[in-house]
């Protein structure tokens, strides 16, 4: 079973700061998805990356897929309190999606 490691596990920053969270594996991903989960809600898809070296932007969020497709990062510029939540990466294999343990981000006003 391919394991996904996310880091850091917890991150607390001030509004306006930049941050990066990581998702790593020892094996190659066929594709990777990033989700954000707010308290009391289910995860919501942010992006899917498929091609090694791919970079996708979603407003202040930048997602990068490693060249070897073993790692991915999510960078948030000028974080806002509304970015607070649990960020999960998920790896698709066949019919299944396996998640990492997530990064709990808190952005303080």
């Amino acid at each position: 079973t391919q394991l996904l490691e996310q880091s850091p596990q917890f991150l607390s920053i001030q509004e306006g700061e930049n941050l990066t969270v990581y998702c790593n594996s020892s094996s190659v991903f066929s594709s990777l998805q990033w989700y954000r989960q707010e308290p009391g809600e289910g995860p919501v898809l942010l992006v899917t990356v498929v091609t090694g070296g791919e970079v996708k932007k979603l407003k202040r969020l930048t997602f990068q897929f490693g060249d070897a497709r073993k790692d991915s990062s999510l960078h948030i510029t000028a974080a806002q309190p509304g970015d607070t939540g649990l960020y999960l990466c998920g790896w698709g294999s066949g019919s299944r999606l396996t998640f990492g343990e997530g990064t709990q981000l808190t952005v303080n006003p």
Partner: protein
């Protein structure tokens, strides 16, 4: 569109009781999933289905059962509830597995006492 609907939102069970968590999707998705999420943790796959009449075990299937008689519905059955099954349960669906995103319900918070 309603998307993925889960009922109930909250439930307290006594040890040994049974219950069914309901999940319905109106997007005509073939793939449906049940996950559990313990506090501060990621999601663990319990069972999944690739279409009506087809189900398969995930990472943590013990103590649960599922059925998929229609495309829309994918109920999760807990038999003989145990405190270890206290968790938040999420149902999800996808049109195609792999690169397509999953749509999640808002979850069922279950406490077994």
């Amino acid at each position: 569109n309603a998307g993925v609907t889960q009922t109930p939102k909250f439930r307290i069970l006594k040890i040994g009781q049974s219950m069914t968590l309901q999940c319905t999707q109106d997007m005509n998705h073939n793939y449906m999933y049940w996950y559990r999420q313990d506090p501060g943790m990621g999601l663990k796959l319990i069972y999944y289905s690739v279409g009506a009449g087809i189900t398969d075990k995930g990472e943590v299937p013990n103590g649960y059962n599922v059925s998929r008689s229609t495309t829309e519905d994918f109920p999760l059955r807990l038999e003989l509830a145990a405190p270890s099954q206290t968790s938040v349960y999420f149902c999800a669906s996808s049109y195609v597995a792999g690169t397509n995103g999953y749509t999640f319900g808002s979850g069922t918070r279950l406490t077994v006492v």
